[in-house]
Structure formats: C-alpha cells, structure tokens
Amino acid sequence: MSFFGGNAMQSQQAVNPQNIAMAEQELEMVTDLFNRIVDSCYTKCISKEYQQNDLTQGESVCIDRCVSKFFDVNTKVGEKMQQMGQQNMPK
C-alpha cells in the first residue's frame, strides 16, 4: 500500500504523539534559554543611555562574551546537578 517509492523505513506515516511532545519540550527549552540570554545580556552589556542606533564595539564584544559565558554556566550547573544526583543515589 506504499505510494512512496523511496525509503522503506519512512513508509509508516504514523505520528507518535510522544515524539511530538518530546520535540515540543526540546523547542520550549531552547526558546526559553535564548530569551533568558537575550534579557540577561542586555541588562549586563547595554547601557540605558542610548547614545546611538548601532551597537558600539564594546557592546558587541560584551554580547559575544556574555553568550559564551552563559553557555558555560549552563553546562557547569548541569554537571553539578548531575553530580549531586549521583551522590544522592547510593542510599
């Protein structure tokens, strides 16, 4: 009954709602992370004086570093939580 001549693996076109939910959750996480980075780095890097329309060189560099640091903090906290989870296990 397959009308698709190609890949046999993908010929089952059933939608697994669990997969959709998983993808949605992943997307939510990433979007949330992005929005928080935008807000935090704006507060940390950009003054409210608004001297000009463009980002200054200093602000640009600050933003690059801010995003990088945020990711590092994200990773480190993740590792820490994993550690703590493992510590609590052997009881």
Partner: protein
C-alpha cells in the same frame, strides 16, 4: 536541534508547531520591546504627546535591542552547534 530522527508526518507536524511558536515569540518580542522602550524613554509627562527627545530615544532603544537580539541569535546558533559537535 536535529529532527531527522522523526518520520515525515511527524516532521510536518513539528514544522507547523515551530511556525506557531515563532509567531507567538514574535508577539512576545514586540510587547517586551514596547515595555522596555517605554520604561527607559518615556519619562516626560509634562505633555500628552511624545517629545522629540523621547522619540529619538525610542528609535535608538528599538534599534539597539533588535540588533542585540540578532547578535545573540547568531552567537547562540554558533555555540549550540559546537555543543552538539562535542556531544557527538
């Protein structure tokens, strides 16, 4: 975010979901930006209409935030890629 492990029907549904979320996000960005620029720039209440100074401030505020958001987006995409490559 890699969606190649989902079949075609799932991918279609996921794409529709992504589009929906993007629109929601855009509206959130808009209202956020209005809030921000109002808080930072609209401080002269001796008059009902926006003064020239306030208008300039608002232009700069909007421009700056959008450029900032764009730059964060670019760096974010780069760094997410790196993280994925390291995990592999």
């Amino acid at each position: 975010m890699d969606f190649s492990r989902y079949n075609q029907a799932e991918q279609a549904q996921i794409n529709a979901m992504i589009e929906h979320k993007q629109m929601k996000d855009f509206l959130r960005l808009y209202s956020n930006l209005v809030q921000r620029c109002f808080d930072d720039c609209a401080n002269d209440f001796t008059t009902k209409s926006i003064t020239g100074k306030e208008e300039t401030c608002i232009n700069k505020c909007a421009d700056k935030f959008l450029k900032h958001s764009e730059r964060v987006g670019a760096r974010f995409a780069e760094l997410s890629q790196q993280v994925i490559i390291i995990k592999l």
